[in-house]
């Protein structure tokens, strides 16, 4: 399974939180032949299952979210302009003069208004709030009202580019790239070596409320969970400490909110199989679906595997293909290893 090709297959499809269903067809086609079953859930998540055929095999939840940050249309104005609200965290510094796609009855293009200098006064002074921005569509108000309505999703355009060293830049790789890494991992496991029943939950609305992961867990009742998400790669302006390095493999989370035993089991597995990995400490919160998964049901040992990514939540997110391959290799090796069972430890009496 080629990661770049898979990414290109779904790159043009939007999945702003709440509209994940638009991506389902693409996900189904990526999952084809890899899982035993793939179904859509009521909250727009997708659940893909591949059992190992062993009796009493533990269930492992592999999770990546399929929603992306974006915007909803809030109003149509005279002259063919749109107002929008952000869905998920968007830095307004990246909006000025950016190209967008508006997914209305027809798909149309637009650009964010960049206030001309004679109107903006002291340009270095401040950034406007997103509610003060406008999108210029080149259409008339009447034409526009036929195409969009309140709630129509809007996405910042970010073409998929191959940079030097097999680094890839694109929008919405948070977190589609990790979904692809999971599918690749599952496709790599020889059936005879699979030790867990695999439940891949491609969850909705992580960017807003973690809805899909919070509810999806109840469909699965897993014994352990690996949440695969993107993490900040080291770059100018952010702390070296706590940020990830490219090409050093996936980052295994150590946090008060992730399972230390599970994390250590993964690190051991990486070492045994000679797969590069890095450790990352996120003391109080991983900022991922793992936060909710860990305390769902009667508690689920969960941890996070992070893929280094720069420029998160922009149309120019950058990842390393090599890291993706290592991510897939590590997940695959862990499912084949099967040593970790995630069982409760009985001290007195029987469990």
């Amino acid at each position: 399974m080629n990661i770049e090709k898979s990414l290109r297959l779904i790159a043009g499809t939007p999945s702003v939180s709440g509209y994940e269903y638009l991506l389902h067809e693409g996900i189904f086609s990526l999952c084809k032949g890899v899982f035993d079953s793939v179904v859509s859930l009521k909250d727009n998540s997708v659940l893909a299952v591949k059992k190992c055929g062993r009796e009493n095999a533990p269930k492992i939840l592999l999770n990546a979210h399929i929603d992306q940050i974006g915007m909803y249309v809030t109003a149509v104005h005279e002259g063919g302009f749109l107002s929008v609200v952000n869905i998920g965290g968007i830095d307004t510094n990246i909006l000025y003069a950016s190209q967008v796609t508006v997914y209305g009855k027809k798909t149309i293009k637009g650009v964010f208004v960049s206030t001309p200098p004679h109107l903006s006064g002291d340009r270095d002074a401040k950034l406007e709030k997103i509610s003060d921005f406008l999108i210029d569509t080149g259409l008339t108000e009447e034409e526009l009202k036929d195409i969009v309505e309140t709630g129509t999703p809007v996405v910042l355009d970010g073409a998929l580019d191959l940079l030097q060293n097999n680094m890839i830049s694109s929008g919405s790789m948070d977190d589609r790239i990790c979904m692809i890494a999971i599918i690749k991992a599952v496709s790599m496991i020889p059936p005879a070596e699979q030790k867990y029943d695999i439940y891949a939950l491609f969850s909705s609305q992580e960017e807003v409320t973690s809805l899909g992961a919070s509810t999806g867990v109840y469909e699965i009742e897993p014994d352990m969970a690996l949440v695969v998400d993107v993490g900040h790669a080291n770059m100018k302006g952010i702390d070296k400490i706590g940020s990830l390095k490219y090409k050093k493999g996936p980052a295994v989370s150590f946090s008060a909110t992730t399972s230390r035993k599970l994390s250590e089991a993964i690190c051991r597995c990486a070492e045994v199989n000679n797969i590069p990995y890095q450790r990352v400490s996120e003391a109080n919160n991983t900022g991922t679906d793992a936060h909710n998964i860990q305390i769902a049901l009667e508690g689920i040992p969960a941890t996070v595997l992070s893929l280094p990514l720069r420029n998160m939540h922009t149309p120019c997110e950058i990842i390393s293909l090599e890291d993706c391959d290592n991510m897939a290799a590590l997940i695959s090796a862990f499912v084949a290893d099967g040593t970790y069972r995630g069982e409760e430890v009985c001290i007195v009496g029987k469990s």
Binding site: G79, S98, L119, A159, R310, N311, T314
Partner: protein, 342 residues
């Protein structure tokens, strides 16, 4: 919309001030068979003479600039990323998380993720000096193989249609002017006319000075783009001019008071020929007219501009209906101005 392919090619070409050969090559290829003389002067202006049916009383020079605002690489950091400075006026707010091309090398202007910004940082734009370009390399050494200090970078921005009549592209300022000049050059003209594709307008209207020195025009017509701020919520003179309001014929801008006679002739000419025009309502900006007006003893000048939204950003938006009016007006004015007693 006529021959948008040429306009697309011109807009997509890389031509940051001082490094615009790619643009000139496209133009040369387009017009060489229509010129009676065509040369690149010593500072890089591309100048063409097209003979008309007659020699006019006044020597006419039409000009548009080939250069665009862009970036220049100033340094290579240890992690392989590049520092840069803006060439020409670029609002730092339009830079974060934009795609650029450094020659043939694609790059990304990095943007610190919102998660890593403090509440204070989220309120202010990141200044240009704190931004870097990432090309995917991991070390200074690796980058040095690909990019040199002093290389220029342009925005990467798709040339697309917005609605029926508008286009969005980088560098409409002033490839649109170059495009109209190419179109006019291909027509039969009444009078001998000089066409100057000038360089370095964005850094002080410098090329036009040398071009005017060598042509010594009596009358200069500048084909340009000018800010249109006719966006929702802006009214009156603050809009500067309006899209689909026709060609903008200037009375005054930030650096030139235009010749009153030429202005009146242009207004009359537009009326006579049913050409839609408007004037600039706000005193701001400037263009090559300022150089033509004061070089080599001076010339009378007119500027005909496209009302263009979001100038000097990766996403300039222009209305081709206005471009058609510009072309018509400029073509007619060659004759009208040639006949003038001045």
């Amino acid at each position: 919309m006529a021959n948008l392919e040429l306009l697309e090619k011109l807009c997509n070409a890389s031509g940051v001030s001082g490094n615009d050969d790619e643009v000139k090559d496209i133009i040369i290829n387009e017009i060489r068979n229509y010129c009676d003389r065509l040369y690149i002067d010593r500072v890089g202006n591309l100048i063409g003479l097209k003979k008309g049916r007659k020699v006019s009383k006044n020597r006419i020079m039409i000009c548009a600039h080939t250069d665009e605002v862009g970036l220049m690489i100033t340094g290579i950091l240890k992690d392989g990323t590049l520092t840069f400075e803006a060439v020409g006026g670029i609002d730092c707010r339009v830079l974060s998380a934009k795609r650029v091309m450094i020659g043939k090398i694609p790059g990304i202007i990095c943007s610190k993720p919102i998660h890593c910004k403090t509440a204070e940082e989220r309120k202010i734009p990141v200044p240009t000096k704190n931004l870097v370009i990432d090309i995917g390399t991991e070390s200074r050494k690796e980058t040095q193989e690909l990019v040199k200090i002093g290389d220029t970078a342009t925005f990467r921005s798709e040339f697309i249609r917005l609605g029926e009549n508008k286009i969005k592209a980088k560098a409409l300022d002033d490839r649109l002017g170059c495009y109209i000049m190419c179109n006019i050059l291909k027509k039969d003209l009444e009078y001998d006319t000089y066409f100057a594709f000038t360089q370095c307008e964005e850094v002080g209207c410098r090329g036009a000075v040398s071009a005017a020195m060598s042509i010594k025009p009596d009358i200069g017509i500048v084909l340009e783009t000018t800010t249109a701020a006719d966006i929702y919520g802006v009214s009156g003179d603050r809009t500067v001019c309006e899209q689909n309001g026709g060609a903008v014929v200037s009375i005054i801008d930030g650096s030139t008071i235009y010749d009153r006679t030429l202005y009146k002739v242009a207004v009359e000419c537009a009326k006579k020929n049913n050409i839609k025009i408007q004037t600039k309502k706000y005193v701001s900006g400037g263009n090559d007219a300022r150089s033509l007006q004061r070089t080599a003893g001076g010339a009378k000048v007119t500027a005909i501009s496209l009302p263009c939204r979001y100038l000097h950003t990766p996403s300039c938006v222009g209305d081709m209906r206005d471009a058609e009016q510009m072309e018509k007006l400029c073509f007619k004015l060659i004759q009208e101005y040639g006949d003038l007693d001045i």
